[in-house]
């Protein structure tokens, strides 16, 4: 009888500890995602300036700018899901990368100091977003491992905690302009 009681106590303690550890890790995932949000917001803040500078030079290639603006508007909506945010971020990153490619055809724009500063700032923010993504993925990895490894996987299945989605971004190869 005592043995059964002891086993039950041990199981309860393990589940409590596992649950607390899972909650801690899940909160870290949430915090990391909030940080990505801060940097995404910073990037959204720069886009109006970028568009304002670029549109004067790029009369024939407004579609790229238009897409960036539309994505920004979607990204600025408060209650979009985490999954949508990840997709919007990926698309904006790709579009900005495309924009840098198009800018190569506009020597005057490439020589514009305001543009160069904005490009450097966007590249810097991309570095910050990338760092935040990596921190988020590290938290997700830790949480997902805990949901799959024994004995915390038992607590995870009891309390319905499921593995989180990684933030996979497009590789953003950039050139830092000389200012």
């Amino acid at each position: 009888m005592f043995l059964i009681f002891l086993v039950l106590v041990i199981v309860a303690v393990v589940i409590i500890f596992s649950y607390n550890s899972l909650v801690y890790k899940q909160n870290q995932v949430k915090n990391s995602f909030s940080s990505i949000d801060v940097f995404l917001k910073k990037r959204y803040d720069l886009i109006p300036n970028l568009v304002s500078v670029v549109k004067a030079y790029m009369d024939y290639e407004r579609s790229v700018l238009k897409e960036i603006v539309e994505l920004r508007q979607k990204g600025m909506i408060d209650d979009i899901s985490k999954s949508d945010k990840i997709d919007i971020d990926r698309n904006i990153t790709r579009n900005i990368k495309d924009l840098w490619g198009v800018v190569e055809n506009y020597p005057d724009l490439k020589a514009n100091q305001q543009f160069l500063k904005l490009q450097a700032a966007l590249n810097d923010i991309e570095d910050q977003i990338s760092a935040a993504r990596r921190a988020y993925n590290a938290s997700v990895n830790e949480f997902n491992n805990a949901t799959q490894m024994f004995p915390s996987n038992i607590a995870a299945s009891i309390f319905g905690m499921k593995p989180e989605r990684f933030f996979e971004a497009e590789q953003f190869t950039k050139e830092v302009p000389k200012i």
Binding site: V69, Q73, A121, A138, V176
Partner: protein, 346 residues
């Protein structure tokens, strides 16, 4: 940086200075007494001491101590005499070395007898032990690109007690670099050599690192080669990853392989780095005898090595080409977000 100066070119540019130093050295003449004279001095001192001492103190044990102290005393006196005699030569050699550094990069200052302050060294977070003897030399300072820097040799030791309770530990002996970032960061990130995982294995080592109360939170990064060599602690997980981008991690692995051992930290808008004292960084030029061309060339090559190391750290870690987005957001914040959406969708 001028690394194209060959041996002949260097020696021809410095020939006048070397000649001047050698002339002064010749004028000073011999500084080490003849061994026979030294022996006579030691014997004379011992005899004098024996006569001065009271007879009841003279026994075999005391006599042995007296001989030992006398020999040490005479050698110490001769050493201090040599140093005093050679001081003008030393000063001129130091000037010669500063001139050599100017030939490598005219914007760099090189002060042989100065070094980076102890509080700066302590604030780097790279040395966890505390000692009580701090010394240094070979301060190089200047600006490389946009980046101000300082580097010097530092020796940090801990010594206390005497006799059987005497304790001595060499905590650090190597080069210490401080470079200013031309950007701001708030956190504190320290990249140290990974001793725990290499010594205790992945599982125990990792547990020890995670529960290390002396440092900030452990940062686990994605590059396995980097993780094998280094352990990272930071009070800001995102900023640590911002500073240690995948490219920077690769560069750090390369730098570590090149210089055998490197640890860095990012604190208070500065980069700190420590490198071991290796033969390739030996900058001294022997001056007890006449200055030899070979020694001047050897020192110059090592100065080049040191400057290349500073340049490698500053350039490889991208200290020159970073800007802070926040400043730019403020300086370019001229367009209201409401206006531009209309204009672009026309």
């Amino acid at each position: 940086m001028n690394t194209r100066i060959d041996k002949e070119g260097l020696l021809s540019q410095l020939s006048v200075d070397i000649q001047k130093i050698n002339d002064i050295r010749k004028r000073i003449g011999a500084i080490t007494p003849n061994p026979f004279i030294m022996l006579l001095i030691i014997i004379a001192c011992i005899v004098a001491e024996v006569f001065l001492l009271k007879t009841e103190f003279i026994n075999i044990e005391n006599f042995v101590w007296l001989v030992i102290f006398t020999v040490f005393g005479v050698f110490a006196f001769i050493e201090s005499y040599k140093r005093k005699k050679l001081e003008p030569v030393r000063q001129m050699v130091n000037k010669l070395r500063a001139k050599m550094m100017h030939l490598i990069n005219e914007d760099f200052d090189y002060i042989v007898d100065e070094y980076i302050k102890e509080d700066v060294f302590a604030s780097s977070g790279l040395i966890n032990k505390s000692g009580n003897k701090y010394s240094g030399s070979n301060l190089v300072k200047g600006k490389l690109g946009n980046t101000k820097f300082m580097m010097s040799h530092i020796k940090y030791e801990d010594e206390h007690g005497s006799g059987k309770s005497h304790h001595y530990e060499l905590i650090f002996d190597g080069f210490f670099l401080v470079a200013e970032f031309n950007k701001n960061f708030k956190g504190r990130t320290v990249v140290l050599k990974d001793i725990a995982e290499n010594f205790f294995g992945d599982v125990i080592g990792s547990w020890l690192q995670k529960n290390n109360l002396l440092n900030d939170r452990l940062v686990k990064l994605e590059n396995p080669v980097f993780e094998k060599k280094f352990v990272v602690y930071s009070n800001d997980q995102i900023e640590a990853r911002y500073l240690l981008s995948p490219l920077i991690m690769e560069k750090l692995v390369d730098l570590d392989e090149k210089y055998n051992s490197i640890s860095i930290s990012f604190i208070d808008n500065k980069l700190f780095a420590v490198l071991p004292s290796i033969d390739e960084f030996t900058l001294e030029i022997p001056y007890e005898e006449l200055i030899e061309d070979e020694n001047v060339w050897f020192s110059f090559q090592n100065m080049n090595n040191l400057v290349e190391t500073i340049s490698a750290i500053i350039n490889e870690l991208g200290l020159n080409n970073k800007l802070w987005a926040d400043d730019i957001i403020e300086s370019t914040a001229s367009v209201q977000s409401e206006d531009f959406t209309k204009e672009i969708s026309q």
